[in-house]
Amino acid sequence: MRKGNAMSVMNPSRKRPCSRWVVILACAAMLITGSLFTVSPASASNLLKMGLLQEPKTLNVWRASDRWSRKVLGLMYQPLYVRDPETLKLIPWLAAGPPLFDEKTLSYTVKIRPAKWSDGTELTSEDVAFTGRFINKFKVPRYRSKWRFIKKIETPDKQTVIFFLKEPKAIFVSRSLTTPIVQKKEWTALIEAARKTKKPLKKLLNEKIKRPVSSGPFVLKEWRQGAYLYLQKNEHFFGTGKKIQGRLLGPYIDGIIFKIFGTSDASILALKKGSIDMFWWGIQPGYIEDLRANPDIALFQNEKSALYYMGFNVRKAPFNDANLRRAIATLVDEDFIINRILQGYGIRMYSIVPPGNAFWYCPDVPRYGEGLDREGRIKKAFGILSDAGYSWDAPPVDGSGKVVKGEGIKLPDGSPMEKFTILTPPADYDPHRAMCGMMMQEWLRMVGMPAYSKPMAFGALLQQVKLRHEFDAFILGYGNLSLDPDYLRNFFISTNDKRRGWNMSGYNNPHFDKIANRSASEMDREKRRKLIWEMQKIIIGDVPYIPLYDPKLIEAVRKGRFTGWVQMLGGVGNIWTFCQLKPR
């Protein structure tokens, strides 16, 4: 018997070698390119390789709105005063000494150091005055509010600048004098060109600064967009060889190369592999164990000047009642949030000002529910609410004083509390805040409040809260609060309760407004501190915001090539580190 298959031509018996060849060739190509380019991770010159999560968007110091641009620009453009890494006090940087205040003329006199621009020309008082005038003249966003109260700027000589204020302003030193100084020569030319256009400010802000003339420890060498940004040591840096705050400044490294990674995963792999020396961004708790076990990696733990909080819409029921807010503040278990959600990498917040900002932080604010367990918290909150006239279908604490599941809470006027939502950023944007929202929901439901946690895209969340004021409660945060506590005023003064205003809660307290305005114009640091403390007490008493936590900043660097990292509030990526880092 014979099979027709044998004569059928559908199945050729010959093997085709082509497919095999393709595979072999592909493998060979991979190996060849791979071996050709196995570059030694530690290159010969001592360039610090720095991983960034995103690429800086611009080197125009007036335009920069993203933190990546500002991180890089901060190494080039320098202000008159910077923070001391230990005391956090403002100390002279480009300035030669502390500003001298003359109460009579309401003026500050600042002497500046002998310094040079990166193009070799002299940095004089003219440049400082020009910067201030420029901001006021063109109403540069972001800086204008820090300079609008300056009446005039005088330059009696090349090293002296006198600023005359229209009115006393507490923030003058911490905000105005920390503005980066730009070169008069460079920007005068740009202004000339901008004046010819219809919108000079727009033109100036959109100006592409290809070769920034700056005065910091580093200058731009090359920026290949999408790939890397190379800063070179500035030969004209005024601090080189000088001792400032007892620190002998370099820079001792030849330059910094910023590389972009897009994701934390890729950056951390690059760090482990040695392609970068530092990742300039906080490490999520999930990565920490792995990095800690790596002998080549050093981890730094620092406090941040940050505030994560729950805010209420106090414009409307039910959160227009401070008693309800206090009861909720009692129910929040901050220790649980820090230990469980943040896995211990966070600091308990009692006030709006982080405790790390020791001078302004008021330790003496009400501490709701401190030291209580869940039952204790519920009982205490029940007490606050009952006293304020709230009632329940089924109270969370029954007749015998036992804690049970509360149901059907009613407002003091007898109407049932309507469902309310707690808006949070989504878990992929910030898992911690989303998780906090869920916990808040559970804690509030235990006492019968119809709370619903709702994650929302970040942009949409801001729009609801800041623009439309259509919300009940939200959880947001500031990762980088300024050290000057003027934001307290900003967040809660009634004049800021408007579209896009900072008073998102709609808090309105004339007494607070008065103190806040006084704090803004109080020029005496000690007296101002008293006012700031008073403000914190009022706010925590009324709790339009419940401060939740201040996350710790964990940063990772490679040990091998450099030493001299300077730790300070906000992490090791500070100007002091870059001026003092030395090759091993």
Partner: protein, 317 residues
């Protein structure tokens, strides 16, 4: 020696329902220059025979027994390569679905030239194209259509092209499987006439496969009637038509008043064709036969010689 000798050929297909015996114990001869027509209902195995002759059975088909001697050589014992070489050069085929027998993305002229080139490496491309031109003249396609694509042709032209292609290598045998089915009647007549002329001109042997007995009668000097995988009657045209022996042949012919008269489609015979996976033990036509005997359904029928060269597979003859 006959050009083609088929001896006791059985072919089957592996199907989901089982092994389907498509052709069973078929034997016939074909002399050079002669023409043989196979006629029968669809599914009777006539196309399978054509495919087996060409060595083009589908993968699930296999020859179970028998021999196919082409010029004395058994094609079933040839290797794929040997078989490939005699295909088209020695025997070509005009396919059933001529409409789709041409590759839509290649020019018609090239497709025909390809057949020439593959079998004679000494021919240059230009020479092959010249030959194709001749073939076009022969089958009556205008030469300016040489570089056209198949979809630009009418049905009749496609069929002519397929015929031209079959003639390309001057084969000794052409198997024409329902070559005119999809064409309208007038074109059909023209094409059949042309095939007949070409047969004479080139002294071709032709195996003509059709379900239309009148066409077979018109085209061939020998007739084979097939039913349910078996050849049930075969002989010279006159013998089969004038004194049909097998009841199935009679039933077929009863649909046609005259051999050359008005043509009509086969009138269906009552009853169904038997299942070929499990064929009946006796005569396969038994259930539909007008006058079966008792032994018909139990005993396999035997060949009976009606006249010299005319035989039938029926025990009643």
């Amino acid at each position: 020696m006959a050009l083609l000798e088929v001896d006791n050929l059985s072919i089957g297909y592996n199907t989901k329902k089982g092994y389907l015996k498509a052709v069973e114990k078929v034997s016939f001869d074909l002399e050079a220059g002669a023409s043989l027509g196979f006629v029968g209902e669809s599914g009777c195995g006539k196309t399978t025979i054509g495919m087996a002759l060409m060595g083009l059975l589908p993968p699930n088909g296999s020859v179970k027994e028998g021999r196919i001697l082409f010029e004395g050589k058994n094609t079933l014992e040839m290797t794929d390569e040997e078989l490939r070489k005699i295909r088209w050069r020695e025997m070509a085929m005009i396919f059933q679905a001529a409409m789709n027998a041409l590759n839509p993305v290649q020019r018609v002229g090239n497709q025909i030239a390809e057949a020439i080139l593959v079998h004679d490496p000494s021919v240059e491309k230009d020479q092959a194209m010249d030959q194709v031109e001749n073939l076009f003249r022969l089958v009556g396609i205008p030469l300016d259509r040489l570089r056209d694509y198949p979809h630009q042709y009418s049905g009749g032209m496609k069929q002519r092209a397929v015929i031209a292609m079959a003639l390309a290598c001057r084969p000794k045998l052409i198997i024409a499987d329902e070559p005119t089915t999809a064409l309208d009647v007038i074109v059909q007549d023209q094409i059949l006439g042309e095939i007949k002329e070409l047969q004479k001109e080139f002294d071709l042997s032709i195996i003509f496969i059709s379900h239309d007995i009148s066409i077979v009668a018109h085209m061939c000097d020998h007739i084979g009637v097939m039913y349910a995988g078996q050849l049930v009657e075969c002989g010279p045209r006159e013998g089969v038509f004038e004194s049909p022996a097998h009841p199935y042949t009679k039933a077929l012919l009863s649909s046609f008043p005259t051999v050359t008269g008005k043509r009509s489609d086969l009138i269906p015979i009552p009853g169904e064709t038997p299942n070929l996976v499990v064929p009946p033990h006796g005569c396969r036509f038994c259930d539909r036969c007008s006058g079966p005997e008792a032994s018909c359904s139990t005993e396999p029928p035997q060949w009976v010689e009606i006249a010299p060269g005319h035989r039938a597979l029926c025990c009643r003859c």
